[in-house]
């Protein structure tokens, strides 16, 4: 028994050493060649045509893009029944579906931006039983359409139909009473439809102050919903407090 323990101890030590001192994959690289010349360069002072910030915010004046998902489902069902009378059933089904979104993003300057995004679904199907029939559907819906404006690089305004970040739940967010669409637990990261609103965002250091004026389903000015929110950073935590 004692011998067994000794063997085990040796095995553990050897495996530890081989892990620590084994040949690294990086040893395959030619280190002499990699570190054979001068490695410290001076920064080349070449002024770029546009600043990095402008390149991000207005580098591409008009962006049009989107995504698509094409699916084909085919199935055959065969059954033999005895009751109420003997019969054989063969049911064939074929369905094509195309889903996705398309967006347009206009950025005339770093201060202004207009954005619109629509979702579409198209389906075409045929089934052979109980009676041969085909169906087709096509649906397009506006998902987002908003205008951004920045006031003195300090206050950020967004007006229009927009998805709102509210609540921290992943599969379910009871605090999110702002967005129109609820979280789908089967697809929690999917885009959700938001309300028509005016959003004002004022960042101060690490903290963020938001004010939403919700303009969805209004009959008059008295129906405007007001939702302020504060995000405050404390150490390695972030505290969010919102009201509606």
């Amino acid at each position: 028994m004692k011998r067994l323990w000794v063997v085990l101890a040796v095995l553990i030590i050897v495996s530890g050493l081989s892990g620590a001192q084994g040949i690294a994959a990086s040893d395959d690289l030619d280190l002499d060649l990699l570190f054979g010349g001068e490695i410290l360069q001076e920064l080349e002072a070449v002024p770029p045509e546009t600043s990095a910030v402008e390149a991000i915010l207005a580098g591409e004046r008009l962006g049009i893009g989107g995504s698509y998902r094409l699916a084909v489902d085919a199935s055959r069902l065969w059954a033999e029944m005895e009751s109420p009378f003997p019969m054989e059933i063969t049911r064939d089904e074929l369905r094509f579906s195309l889903t996705g979104d398309i967006y347009a993003d206009l950025r005339p300057s770093p201060t202004w931006r207009a954005f619109a995004k629509a979702k579409y679904t198209a389906a075409l199907g045929h089934e052979s039983w109980p009676q041969g029939k085909s169906d087709e559907t096509f649906d397009v819906s506006l998902h987002e359409a908003f205008l951004d404006y920045t006031v003195l690089d300090k206050l950020y305004l967004r007006f229009g139909k927009q998805a709102v970040s509210w609540g921290v739940g992943y599969l379910c967010s009871p605090a999110d009473v702002i967005n129109i669409e609820r979280i789908d637990p089967l697809d929690p990261e999917a885009d959700r439809e938001g309300p028509v609103a005016l959003k004002a965002h004022y960042p101060v250091g690490s903290s963020n102050y938001y004010l939403y004026l919700l303009l969805e389903d209004m009959d008059g000015l008295q129906d405007i919903g007001i939702a302020p929110k504060i995000e405050y950073v404390m150490g390695r935590s972030e505290l969010g407090l919102g009201g509606f």
Binding site: A24, I39, L40, S51, G65, V164, D191
Partner: protein
């Protein structure tokens, strides 16, 4: 009797080895690490650059990513915005001190994440894009002197003293004359080699330096590695509002 003599000799050898190790002046290396950290920080200069990240994965093949990089060490801030591939365009990271957020433009949500996490599934870690903290987060365990390519280097063994760093044990190859980290090996708690880093090119930024070529090798998955290259480096002053959530929201598509 013979066994006792052998044991005595062994004991003496162990004592000699311990005394030799203890005699090493680790304060020299601690000073080197201090300089490494100081050089990796440029508190009076803003930095912007374009990162081109090429990942070679035996299963997924070759993947390219282009990321816009903004950094301000005064306040420990950086901001990364993915530009390519287009399917990930607008995803971003914002670091402010100890807090790192990931922004997902699809859900328009910010989520807290960690510097220890892998960057977008590559072999680079989020921490690789900030300033280094070898002198404060690690203690020197041992060192030797050696050569790497044309450079005389210190080969330094470090052990973490806090849990803010991705790996508890690190081995560094640092040039003697310029205190540049040329190579790293990072180990898990049971001293298994997890990742290697190679830094064959640096550029001066203000009083500091920044690696312009970084190669990270996954030592667990054979053939998996990531190369990060910096281009369009600028030290022009950046607006304060770059390092805000609002900027990430405006940058996305």
């Amino acid at each position: 009797m013979r066994t006792h003599k052998l044991a005595l000799v062994l004991l003496l050898l162990i004592c000699c080895w311990t005394v030799t190790a203890a005699a090493k002046d680790l304060s020299v290396i601690e000073a080197v690490l201090q300089k490494v950290d100081e050089q990796s920080s440029f508190p009076h200069t803003d930095l912007s650059a374009v990162l081109t990240i090429i990942t070679e994965d035996p299963e997924a093949g070759l993947e390219k990513m282009v990321v816009r990089y903004f950094r301000r060490d005064d306040g420990e801030r950086f901001l990364l915005v993915v530009e390519e591939p287009r399917t990930q365009r607008g995803q971003g990271y914002l670091l402010e001190g100890d807090n790192l957020w990931f922004y997902d433009p699809s859900s328009r949500k910010f989520a807290h994440t960690s510097l220890k996490e892998s960057f977008q599934g590559t072999d680079a870690r989020n921490a690789d894009f900030g300033q280094w903290s070898y002198s404060s987060s690690y203690k020197v365990v041992d060192y030797t002197e050696g050569k790497l390519g044309n450079f005389a280097v210190y080969i330094i063994d470090l052990e973490a003293v806090d849990d803010t760093v991705p790996y508890p044990y690190v081995k560094l190859w640092v040039t003697k004359d310029s205190n540049l980290v040329l190579r790293t090996q990072e180990f898990s708690l049971n001293k298994r080699l997890m990742r290697s880093g190679l830094f064959p090119s640096y550029t001066r930024v203000g009083q500091g330096v920044i690696p312009t070529q970084m190669v990270f090798v996954d030592e667990l998955v054979e053939g998996k590695k990531t190369q990060v290259s910096l281009s369009e480096i600028s030290t022009a002053k950046l607006p304060d509002n770059v390092f805000t959530k609002a900027f990430l929201e405006r940058a996305n598509r």
